[in-house]
Symmetry: C2
Subunit: 439 residues, 2 copies
């Protein structure tokens, strides 16, 4: 660490730790903006909320952004707001440069009834990295950038991970700004209204590396006794809408053998997919999240059904095989029951593999800090998968108690939050100093 | 036929036939009142409709009643309108008596988008019986009563089969009149508004016997090559509402083994019940007609589900066994997936067995007339099952093309309509003359 040799250290570099109490206090203070109780109802000022409702580019999101940008300014970061509202704050390198920073961050928008940690943890832990380095007067070989991306959740504007997708060059900023919510409001206008339609161009500058800390949003780390997850990549996602046309008929007068029951076919498909995923050796998951029957009456055999199928796998070949088995079973159902079944692809993303060097660094760092760590694939989409298009990238996960997320009941043990943020600190420090990314 | 021996017959009694063209014309003319096209839209005056929308005690029902009562008056019947709007018209016996009539009829109310035949066929065929006897100047030993009952469908006011239930003494008339539709209108007030809140007391007089002609509303007769069904009874009905509470969770991050998927449990239950019914040797039917998932999002494992289960069987012991298997499987699902599952009984009717003597008479009569006949249990409820409480009762079914009913596409071949009405004519004639009901 030659660049920092002339600055007096109060502790050895390997003993650096973030300020856990400050992190938790900031998480709570950010949660108050759009704060809600466990039932999703707004809480009065002064009451500590369970979770938050800060849909992208709403007034609540604007207040959250103001709070975080204020903290960035307090830390002396160079603020950049781009033309889709992505915000970055950069701490220059020891030589004053701001090019090719090590970048870390996440998002602060939430779903309609979200938790305190999803996204926020990654952004506020990144601020801890900066604050900790500042407090110990540590200058780094490379600049460090803290960012939060617009509309990661996709709960108000589609697609999700929108800001990071634009940042990485995957979506024109004009298209993102034109995205409309259900009330017909355009993202661009809504960003203007909260003062976050910036002038910096998108796509943004590619960083030296990108690391995102995020809660797992699943039960695996907790179940396996790990505190930190070294995230190997993001599962591929396949969403299909299934529309089944049979024959509505009288539930009493129609013998079983004469039925063309669209609802039954929907049920058999859901069971087939569940069995398929449970039998798979590849961590395949399958979910039928939406089902609608028509006419949806107690005494009428459903003539039509609509359902959605969500298939995910980190292994693209296995995902393709699951999709093929799904389609073959749909054919079989159509034949067996005399149904017309139409499939429409809603979403299809290939799996994303993170950078092996950054994954290894996360794993080694957590181990060195004494935090039980395991490799894990992300089941959810994250901004990091967009940044992976332009920079060596990985993620750090920590536990989600009970696997609960996208809910005000989302909760992580404070010591796990701090362990993960400490891991982020040392990963960023290593990336900003070393040559881990040399080929 | 001693009572009719002094009246000159133009044809031999066994050769009597109803006027098929008049029956079909009346079915069409009644269908015009509230007439709708195949999509359920009202048709302009003069256009022959596909079906009808005559919900009970609406203005359309009032116009339908006026038309049928007009035909009853043309036939010289003695009209009786009771305190829940049931209408009967009685043709006195040869001795002038109107006591203990042979009664036949059905209903003329429809579901919101109903067909031409459901109910109407039984009422207008009953008028054909009277007209045919009149035309041949045949007086009968017993009086004959033609009736139509209020609100059989239960599509506007609950319960269904309301008028016949009141007629048979199963529901106080004041309770029936107080029944409210979704707009808060009471049946009694709505009957007053259309001029059909009568003064005759309910329960009404028990007839000597009751026979109802109705379309099958199922595909069995057509499938089996029969034109007439000798209906042996009405299936018992068991309706249960199932509420499943699991854990809503992220579709990507929650491993299959960690899920408490309420939607999957609903699907497995629907498949189980379908398999149960198909395996049953007892003509068990099972239908899951309603399914609702919460939050019903493509990427969220359903945390809650609500569904309905409709089980029917003509054999009460078999129905009870099916209910027990259903509850046992619900227990198993709750255990396997860590769910809370609550069951609420919505409807439970024991099967109704019709009178063996009247069933046999229907069967023999159809055979004598040369119409292929089969014994069949009714999968749907009918006014006859209420009259069975107070008089020897059976029903005559005829075909429903494709089993379609409660839909403007409901259709029956004209020759089958006529064959069934001729069967009704001779069954009523036999009952009104003979001593078939002696013990």
């Amino acid at each position: 660490m030659t660049d920092t040799a002339d600055i007096p250290l109060t502790v050895a570099l390997e003993d650096l730790r973030i300020d856990g109490l400050r992190l938790i206090e900031r998480l709570e203070n950010l949660a108050r903006l759009g704060g809600i109780d466990l039932q999703g109802r707004p809480v009065p000022d002064g009451v500590v909320p369970a979770g938050s409702s800060r849909l992208a580019a709403t007034q609540a999101d604007g207040r959250g952004r103001d709070l975080v940008v204020g903290w960035m300014r307090d830390l002396g970061l160079q603020i950049r707001i781009d033309e889709v509202g992505n915000v970055t704050g950069t701490r220059p390198a020891a030589d004053g440069s701001t090019d090719h920073p090590v970048m870390t961050g996440s998002h602060i928008d939430t779903v309609a009834t979200g938790g305190k940690y999803d996204g926020n943890l990654g952004v506020l832990s990144a601020l801890e990295v900066i604050a900790t380095l500042d407090e110990h007067r540590i200058a780094t070989r490379r600049p460090i950038t803290v960012g939060f991306f617009t509309n990661e959740e996709g709960a108000r504007f589609q697609p999700d991970m929108m800001g990071s997708l634009v940042y990485a060059g995957g979506l024109p900023p004009s298209v993102a700004r034109a995205a409309k919510d259900l009330a017909g409001m355009a993202l661009g206008d809504e960003l203007t209204a909260i003062g976050y339609l910036g002038e910096a161009p998108a796509p943004g500058p590619a960083p030296h590396a990108f690391v995102e800390l995020h809660i797992e949003q699943g039960p695996v780390l907790e179940r396996d006794g790990a505190v930190v997850g070294a995230v190997t990549g993001v599962q591929g996602i396949s969403w299909t809408e299934v529309r089944i046309a049979g024959q509505g008929n009288h539930a009493g007068t129609t013998p079983m053998g004469s039925r063309r029951d669209a609802g039954l076919a929907a049920a058999r498909l859901a069971v087939f997919l569940d069995d398929l995923a449970r039998r798979s050796p590849s961590n395949q998951v399958a979910t039928v999240g939406q089902v609608e029957l028509f006419p949806n009456l107690v005494n009428v055999i459903p003539g039509r059904a609509r359902l959605t199928v969500d298939l995910r796998n980190i292994d693209n070949a296995a995902l393709i095989a699951a999709e093929q088995a799904f389609r073959a079973y749909v054919e079989e159902l159509a034949q067996t029951y005399g149904l017309e079944i139409a499939l429409a692809n809603l979403v299809r993303f290939d799996p994303v593999d993170f950078d092996a060097r950054v994954i290894g660094l996360v794993e080694r760092t957590a181990t060195r800090l004494g935090h039980p760590v395991t490799r894990i694939a992300s089941g959810a989409g994250h901004d990091a998968q967009m940044l992976a298009r332009v920079a060596p990238t990985a993620m750090i996960f920590t536990t989600s108690h009970g696997g609960i997320s996208h809910d005000p009941a989302e909760w992580t043990k404070p010591e796990d939050l701090v362990a993960a943020a400490d891991t982020l600190l040392h990963v960023v420090l290593e990336l900003s100093e070393g040559d881990h990314l040399a080929v």
